[in-house]
């Protein structure tokens, strides 16, 4: 589904990715963890071509991102952002139907039926006509997930989807993500929620200094960390109250 080969990227001379490679199989749920500044988000953004790597290749759904029609390829990878990035001037339903109508040329009726179905799925069927600012953070993020799903992507990318949320709102978002995973959606998730990683991830990828330092099944990665930096990272994260059970 996704194949990344040796990509490198720097911002203003600061190296963020340095020869990172990894791949994701259809239906797989991959969680990327690592210290801040290790290149997790940049790696994710390269998959969606929001960033272009300076070297290396990114293949999504059998297409080379360097030569693909990006507008078309982007619809295959849905993106969920830390800051939700809902369109504040549109109702919840309009947020969902914009892509289907403009990009996929669906009729209003088709798009609205799809939008309603997806809002129902994320438990917000009663918020159709609300504006984003009238919703809680957790509700906004669930709308953002539904908006990405409305393009019927083959893979969903999550960039720290719960980092901007109040603690009591994290659960509802993780629940929707878990449900998606159970339905067989291919997912790449950058997160600090170790509990989610352990419960849902087929594979955990640990990034450090722009490289993939270690990867493997969640239990293996957490219980017998194969890399000293991972062990150090886990100790730091877990002693700060983020549960890993």
């Amino acid at each position: 589904m996704i194949r990344i080969q040796d990509i490198s990227k720097s911002f203003d001379g600061k190296i963020v990715l340095e020869g990172a490679s990894f791949s994701v199989e259809p239906g797989e749920v991959v969680v990327i963890i690592g210290p801040s500044g290790s290149g997790k988000s940049t790696l994710l953004r390269c998959i969606n071509a929001l960033e272009r790597p300076e070297q290396g290749e990114v293949w999504v759904g059998g297409q080379d991102m360097a030569h693909a029609n990006l507008d078309q390829v982007r619809t295959q990878a849905g993106m969920v952002f830390q800051q939700f990035n809902l369109f504040p001037h549109m109702t919840v339903l309009d947020n969902l139907t914009l892509g289907p109508k403009v990009v996929k040329k669906m009729t209003s009726q088709e798009a609205e039926a799809l939008g309603k179905r997806l809002l129902d799925k994320v438990g917000l069927a009663d918020k159709l006509t609300a504006f984003p600012a009238e919703l809680s953070g957790g509700q906004q993020q669930r709308v953002a997930i539904a908006r990405a799903l409305a393009m019927e992507p083959k893979v969903m990318l999550f960039d720290e989807p719960t980092s901007a949320l109040d603690p009591e709102l994290i659960g509802e978002v993780l629940l929707v993500m878990q449900q998606l995973a159970e339905e067989g959606m291919t997912m790449v998730v950058v997160t600090h929620e170790m509990g989610f990683a352990r419960q849902v991830a087929d594979r955990v990828v640990f990034m450090d200094e722009g490289r993939i330092a270690a990867q493997g099944p969640a239990t293996e990665m957490f219980d017998t960390p194969p890399h000293p930096r991972l062990k150090e990272f886990l100790n730091r994260v877990l002693t700060h109250g983020v549960s890993a059970d």
């Binding site: 969606n48 929001l50 507008d71 078309q72 982007r74 619809t75 990878a77 849905g78 993106m79 952002f81 800051q83 990035n85 809902l86 369109f87 504040p88 001037h89 914009l98 892509g99 403009v102 990009v103 996929k104 504006f131 984003p132 600012a133 009238e134 953002a144 908006r147 990405a148 409305a150 393009m151």
Partner: protein, 222 residues
């Protein structure tokens, strides 16, 4: 010097003629701001693009106009340029062109500021659901930028209205010029300039009320 007696009747008597001037002031302002908005939207968009030359061209226009006095621009347009071109446009046309080009430069900065002031995530979110750059502009960026533009636009319209009084130097019979003409006949500077000032105030208040209405009309919830 004779003792001064304020005569309200003078204000009333001069009103019909001054209103004709005010009408021309309003006409120049409306046309100037409309063309100015078109110019400003165009150059503001150019300046917020990523490409080098459009940015440079827009930057040149904006900096040149903002860096020189409107009075000089107007004199150059009406007295200077005809020497090169061999023909002179009517004073009213020159005035409208000057106000448009001048307002356009400031409005371009308003437009650019409104676009660049939006969170970066808006463009990214729009692109990530497959919208092209142009589609994202049309459906996501510009509708939001337009709302952010309304207050500074209103400000610029008020400034442009007052700037039209400079048209006096090229002999356009707008409100200020009409005031001078009335005084040259009745020698009542106090009453006439007071009336002129009140008329300007009415016009600017009308503009800001209209803009406030627009602001409410397009308010984003939250």
């Amino acid at each position: 010097m004779q003792p001064f007696h304020f005569e309200f009747q003078v204000m009333l008597d001069s009103l019909p003629q001054l209103l004709l001037g005010a009408r021309l002031t309003l006409l120049v302002t409306l046309l100037g701001c409309t063309f100015g908005f078109v110019l400003g939207a165009f150059f503001g968009l150019l300046r917020s693009l990523d490409s080098f030359w459009p940015r440079k061209i827009a930057g040149f226009y904006i900096e040149t106009i903002r860096g020189t006095p409107l009075m000089v621009q107007m004199m150059f347009l009406y007295f200077g340029l005809p020497l090169l071109l061999g023909l002179r446009m009517p004073a009213l046309v020159a005035g409208i062109v000057a106000i448009s080009v001048n307002a356009g430069a400031y409005i371009a900065e308003v437009v650019r500021g409104a676009i660049e002031g939006l969170p970066k995530g808006q463009m990214e979110a729009a692109r990530s659901i497959g919208l092209s750059k142009a589609q994202a502009m049309r459906h996501v960026i510009l509708p939001q930028a337009f709302r952010a533009m309304i207050p500074p636009l209103g400000n610029q319209f008020v400034i442009s209205l007052k700037d039209t009084s400079l048209l006096v130097v090229i002999g356009v019979g707008e409100l200020t010029r009409t005031g001078q003409e009335v005084i040259s006949v009745n020698f009542r500077a106090f009453e006439v300039w007071l009336t002129v000032a009140l008329l300007y105030l009415c016009l600017t208040l009308a503009i800001s009320q209209f803009l406030r209405f627009l602001e409410r009309r397009f308010k984003v919830v939250g």
